[in-house]
């Protein structure tokens, strides 16, 4: 396995039948996650169900957008583009794969906050910036 693009131009994001509330939230600058009403656990926006309750009926709920950095990586394309990738832990508990934006010195536990990109074409989406007090 020897190639990852990591292009700066990421292409156009379209919603599918399962992601409407997530992208509606992103368009309004809100991070919307999945939550299990039965047990109160939060899940990443692509979660299909709650493994503890067994339910596949998760609701959508607005998160604070605060997070800390778990791990990070930089994808390199053969054309020289790079993409700062991250695994972040949201304040509500779940981890999410995301992009960093403008983080100069990433380290485990770095406080982050969701910020939103609104492309001309396609859906808005979150990226994570350093959260300063």
């Amino acid at each position: 396995m020897t190639r990852d693009p990591g292009e700066d131009a990421i292409g156009t994001i379209r919603r599918d039948g399962r992601s409407g509330p997530f992208f509606d939230g992103a368009a309004e600058g809100r991070l919307v996650l999945r939550r299990c009403e039965a047990c109160g656990q939060w899940f990443a926006p692509d979660a299909a169900g709650c493994p503890d309750c067994g339910t596949d009926e998760l609701t959508w709920a607005e998160a604070t957008g605060e997070a800390v950095l778990v791990s990070w990586a930089v994808a390199h394309s053969r054309t020289g583009h790079t993409a700062p990738l991250a695994l972040v832990e949201l304040a509500e508990g779940p981890w999410m794969y995301a992009r960093l934006d403008g983080v100069a010195g990433p380290h485990e536990g770095l406080p982050l906050r969701a910020s939103f990109v609104h492309p001309d074409d396609g859906e808005s989406y979150p990226v994570f910036k350093e959260r300063r007090r």
Partner: protein, 392 residues
């Protein structure tokens, strides 16, 4: 506990041409590998009463392979998938079925053909689209387009937590390539230095190109039978001493030890307990090496060094030729060929038989094999020996 009459052994090993071998489907490669394994054991295909077929990246032949091979009256026929852990899991399942009396002589096979002549190797597993759909599509659009990104995150987490360095990972790449020089079947045999590793291009930082495995076409099969029967066959038996699996079920949520501890921590001690050995008695390791990091974290989880000490352990030179713990003596998936868990398993059989030639490890009484699948989600461990179990 099984007695000696139901202990099992690997009696045959069949390998097709491996690497940039074009024009054959996985089904054809799998059939060729099973035929070669039976011939290696001195068996006819009609002697098989069990067949286990692994999944692969490019489409598995599935249980239809039995029809391709014209196998009749099988008592065991199934398809298994735990990704890179499948090879060891197949041998374990064959062993359990033989011990139960359900089958006596079982072929376990993996074949894959992800490489196409006109494409570069990376593109075999990578997607490139202009328009992406849903949250999963967003993730891919952002740059999570192959497993490289996820292993890079795992690697970085270990580096951050334990101080593991790229140079320490490079020591694994260098040691593995040094072993590959003794393997005529290895795809990459040119020696490399730590500097070569450091100067190889980034794939996904912190993973350099030389931290990543090859992509290969080909097929490999083994024949598992009772130890008693194996003694009468063509090759010296490779006795199965212990086996176990570990599937940690990491949740991507607060408190997860993703990247820090793998299923090896569960399956390694269990397999060693069944085999009646400790890490001190393991002579050679064949560790699943989709990335250099996988070797490092697996050795830690098995207990060859303390948690967090995998980097210094690798950098000490222990793993290469002349080291205290020979690891991936055939060049592994980093330098030899990428056949999922069949890469470490095939080299374990070769080493246990003493057929390693220039790369034969100085001692081979106890050989450990690991398989890893998913993003460190699935693990299986096998311990084999040229000696019958309990009589080293």
């Amino acid at each position: 506990m099984a007695d000696s009459t139901t202990d099992t052994a690997i009696a045959g090993l069949g390998m097709t041409e491996l690497g940039k071998v074009y024009g054959h489907s996985p089904r054809r490669l799998a059939a060729d590998a099973v035929r070669a394994a039976a011939e290696d054991a001195g068996l006819a295909l009609a002697d098989l009463d069990g067949l286990i077929v692994s999944s692969g990246m490019s489409g598995s032949p599935g249980i239809e392979l039995a029809r391709t091979l014209g196998l009749r009256d099988l008592r065991l026929l199934t398809h298994m998938n735990s990704y890179g852990a499948t090879a060891v899991a197949m041998v374990s399942h064959a062993t359990a079925m033989i011990q139960s009396g359900a089958a006596s002589t079982v072929a376990c096979v993996f074949a894959d053909a992800p490489l196409e002549p006109e494409r570069n190797s990376g593109s075999a597993y990578h997607r490139d689209e202009k328009e992406w759909h849903g949250v999963g599509g967003l993730q891919a659009a952002l740059g999570f387009r192959s497993v490289n990104a996820f292993y890079a995150l795992a690697t970085r987490r270990h580096m951050e937590r334990y101080g593991t360095t790229s140079e320490q990972l490079g020591a694994i790449a260098v040691a593995t390539r040094a072993w590959a020089q003794g393997n005529p079947l290895a795809q990459m045999r040119e020696p490399i230095s730590l500097r070569d590793h450091q100067e190889s291009r980034w794939v996904v930082e912190p993973l350099h190109l030389l931290d990543c495995c090859l992509v290969s076409n080909g097929g490999i099969a083994v024949i598992v039978t009772s130890a008693e029967r194996a003694r009468d066959l063509a090759r010296p038996p490779v006795h199965v001493w212990g086996w176990a699996q570990g599937h940690p079920g990491h949740r991507l949520t607060r408190g997860s030890d993703f990247g820090l501890t793998t299923g090896a921590a569960l399956s390694g001690p269990a397999a060693m307990k069944m085999a009646g050995v400790t890490t001190a008695e393991i002579d050679v390791c064949q560790i699943y090496d989709c990335y250099t990091f996988t070797v490092l974290v697996t050795l830690e989880d098995y207990g060859f060094c303390a948690k967090g000490e995998g980097g210094p352990f690798a950098a000490s030179g222990a793993l290469g030729p002349g080291g205290t713990l020979p690891v991936n003596t055939g060049g592994g998936q980093l330098s030899a060929y990428y056949m999922w868990g069949m890469t470490p398993l095939s080299e374990a059989v070769i080493q246990a038989r003493g057929h390693g030639g220039d790369r034969q490890a100085p001692r081979n009484d106890v050989v450990l094999v690991s398989g890893n699948g998913g993003i460190l989600d699935h693990h299986a461990t096998l311990i084999v020996s040229p000696h019958a179990k309990g009589r080293p």
